[in-house]
Symmetry: C2
Subunit: 506 residues, 2 copies
């Protein structure tokens, strides 16, 4: 019996990594390595991956404290039968665990800390020169965004100024991509990107496939089997990072594949992901059937859905999953209407999304010096919306509950979301009236308002980023079937883009 190595120590939800050497095979992707991790009666099977030059790697993120043992399994003798133990210790400060769906329509970290996505998008971030890569990371973190959407494969076609130095695979003798001939440095850069985001508290919304190849590289034309090999590799490589989300594709329906091929791609990701990271897919014209069981949350492109009230909330009912409007048009200055929203308009749309019980993502489409777009290459933000979105994120993080749900979906004329009888957020739109008579909607679910309930009111200027508490409290005097009132009228700075936060205090 071999000597027992001393236990490795990993924090809960951290990344445990072990590397194994093996003779380099001809087709390294065909060498299957799986590791069984045991914690008491529980067994979690995690796939390993090839990391070049005779190196195989296993990464695992333990979700429970205490001792885990592991045992490798492989048809390759050099990789088979390795045993070991790891000691999972409490998470460090700031490690709240991976994000999961919570309260049907919302998200929370594994330790229960709510997570309110206010993300942004830099598609071709990975494929920029080092300086711009770092500038983007700093910009995203500095602006307070907590999710970043980016592509694994490089973007081609228009708006792309910088061609990538590296590609994910080598080409074979016929010039075809050989997905078995992985460029390890390419994928190590992907590891680093995810780790860099983790270190700055940002969720990595990893876009696995995309149609923006435009014949430049041909990475959108892999066969289904080649896609699957690639997906298995990326999932084995990244899923131990607790900030990973899988976006199967951007504008998936531009790729003109049958829907069931996407179903199977989802299943490959689901079946190889020992950590069950969030999974979705982003649309162009045709929306994928997000009711399918492997979709954890809904990622949508539709700016129109949050251009006015009463729309985005309809998506909640049809999917009963969190709705993330990952593309609602961009703040920018290009002629296309998807790329020239004003800052105030984009901020307005985020607030509409918020009181619709949904989430939205940011992006900038300013033309950059290189002739590219911010949304493609990144760099410092130029728009007016980022600080206002950081402010919105703060407001969302102060919500006293799992998330904001529209209170009266049957007649949402008050544009109010909240936690019934606890807290309400009412958005008055881009130009508030001069006064507001205290009234709250009563929905059909959740706790009921009753006469005598007492509330405090904050007036929030969504653009000036101010929160002013109205002096005094307000007591309900009338409660009817669909709403409640207090005998009070609150003066407002007319014409401002305001929201009201109404919290019960007694």
């Amino acid at each position: 019996m071999a000597a027992q190595p001393s236990d490795d120590e990993v924090e809960r939800w951290g990344v445990f990594e072990r590397r194994f050497s093996a003779p380099e095979p001809e087709r390294p992707l065909d060498t299957v390595l799986t590791v069984e991790f045991r914690h008491g009666e529980r067994v979690v099977s995690a796939p390993g991956f090839h990391d070049g030059a005779g190196e195989y790697v296993i990464r695992f993120s333990p979700d429970a404290e205490g001792t885990w043992s592991y045992l490798t399994r492989s048809a390759e003798p050099a990789l088979d039968g390795h045993e070991g133990r790891l000691r999972c210790v409490p998470p460090a400060a700031g490690n709240h665990g991976p994000v999961r769906v919570a309260g049907t329509y919302h998200f929370a970290h594994a330790d229960g800390t709510p997570y309110r996505p206010v993300g942004t998008t830099v598609y071709n971030w990975l494929h920029q020169p080092e300086e711009r890569y770092r500038a983007t990371l700093e910009a995203v973190a500095g602006a307070g965004f907590n999710k970043l959407r980016f592509l694994v494969f490089p973007q081609g076609g228009g708006h792309v100024a910088h061609r990538p130095d590296r590609f994910p695979f080598a080409r074979d003798a016929d010039g075809r991509w050989d997905v078995g001939a992985v460029d390890v440095a390419y994928f190590q850069a992907l590891d680093r990107a995810v780790a860099d985001l983790l270190a700055t508290g940002i969720e990595a919304d990893v876009i696995l496939l995309h149609p923006y190849d435009q014949g430049d590289y041909g990475l959108d034309a892999l066969s289904e089997e080649e896609d699957a090999a690639y997906l298995r590799h990326v999932v084995a490589r990244l899923s131990a990072y607790r900030n990973v989300w899988w976006s199967m594709a951007n504008e998936y329906d531009q790729m003109e594949r049958p829907e069931d091929r996407w179903d199977r791609a989802f299943q490959v990701v689901r079946d190889h992901d020992a950590h069950e990271r969030p999974r979705s897919i982003h649309n162009w014209i045709d929306i994928y059937d997000h009711n399918k069981p492997w979709v954890t949350h809904v990622s949508l492109q539709n700016g129109f859905a949050v251009a006015d009230f009463g729309r985005a909330l309809l998506y909640r009912d049809v999917y009963r999953k969190p709705i993330v409007l990952d593309e609602i048009k961009y703040e920018g200055d290009i002629p296309e209407r998807w790329g020239h929203l004003s800052g105030p308009e984009l901020v307005h749309r985020f607030w509409v999304a918020t009181v619709s019980g949904t989430y939205a993502s940011h992006g900038e489409s300013f033309l950059t010096e290189s002739g590219s777009l911010s949304i493609v290459e990144g760099g410092a933000f130029r728009g007016e919306s980022p600080p206002r979105l950081a402010f919105l994120r703060r407001i969302l993080e102060e919500v006293r509950g799992v998330g904001l749900d529209p209170i009266d979906k049957w007649d949402d004329t008050t544009h109010t979301a909240g936690v019934p009888r606890v807290e309400y957020l009412r958005y008055l739109g881009p130009s508030a009236p001069a006064r507001w008579r205290f009234a709250l909607p009563q929905g059909v679910t959740g706790e009921r308002l009753v006469v005598g309930d007492r509330f405090a009111v904050d007036v929030i200027d969504t653009w000036e980023m101010s929160v002013e508490t109205v002096p005094g409290t307000f007591t309900l005097t009338t409660v009817e079937r669909n709403g409640a009132r207090a005998d009070a009228t609150i003066e407002l700075p007319a014409g401002r883009p305001l929201a009201l936060r109404i919290r019960r205090v007694g």
Copy 2:
């Protein structure tokens, strides 16, 4: 060899019926009778049903002209091995065949004639005294509605003034419903209702189950097996009528059954329906997953979705099936807000549904003399909306194409649906401006507008039910990515609830 009986003659899409006698068994529902109908190489298997006192019936609606042969199959010798032939002749005038989904979001009869649902609802129609039953039929037909939603099982609880004389089943010794002891007269009244609707050109939207029993009868508390026996019976009985639609339930989610029980109920209906009639299910708070393959079209309750523009069209994208908003609140005078829409408001909602590329259903909730509601017991219509909805139906039937689709789903600020480059319907809302500068949206799919395209314009008053053609024609002078314009401004009767119909003439 037995003498060949002379062929029965049935028109295409008509109802062929044959009755067979058999010794009355103890559990008549357990006696399975199926009939194989052959037409050339094609075989369609149709179930028969027990119709009381030793009678078994087979009904079949042939969808192809020419000779069909049939052969009965049953474990009961008296029902087994009957052979015969029927000659299917061309349909009579006015028989356009059953309604099917057409153009993804719309409907058409089997002969290609478009069907634009403008339906109404009388839940407890079947369970009224004869005089009121007939008055309702006349009212629905006279008003020009072309679909009627009604319940098979009687409604209980509030708002129900007339208790039914008959029930679908007898009770057993313990007072439980015995679904095998069918009250044949009850179901023959259902046959007659469907046939009466067919004779007046109205689709029968048969609501198979509902939660409005309120403990009065217990028909909402049958077991899954009992439900299935009932469903098989009703499907075998009614599906040969070409005007039948199956609504699995009204407000299905008030019945508090697991979702998969509904899935299985859908499958029972699908698997026993030789005629593949339209299938859907109507919701209260939780929307059923209409993406499931056995749902042919989407039946929704949500008046809010058509209270303003830009909402209902979102449902199209998520389901890619026809959207019928079967409950959008009612014109009426009761205090509940679902039951006191004004006539103009209900008509407005229908027009919003129309330019959203969806359909809606009508209902009245006036308090009746008996203390019931129009929506429950029927009778003459009292509201102002029915003639305006008949007018809308006429406009819909004049559409030159499979149906109206929103032209620009990404930014539907013009509230325009149509058939690209053929015809456009633009709804200006309840209070039109004084003038309209000629402009049309350009979508991303379908035929493209080009400079020189020439149009005629009709101004439609949705309340006065008038169509006035604007003198002259209008020629496009500018076509941009998202829209086109002619150098013309049309004066309008400001403040009226107007729509514009814009048809290409050159």
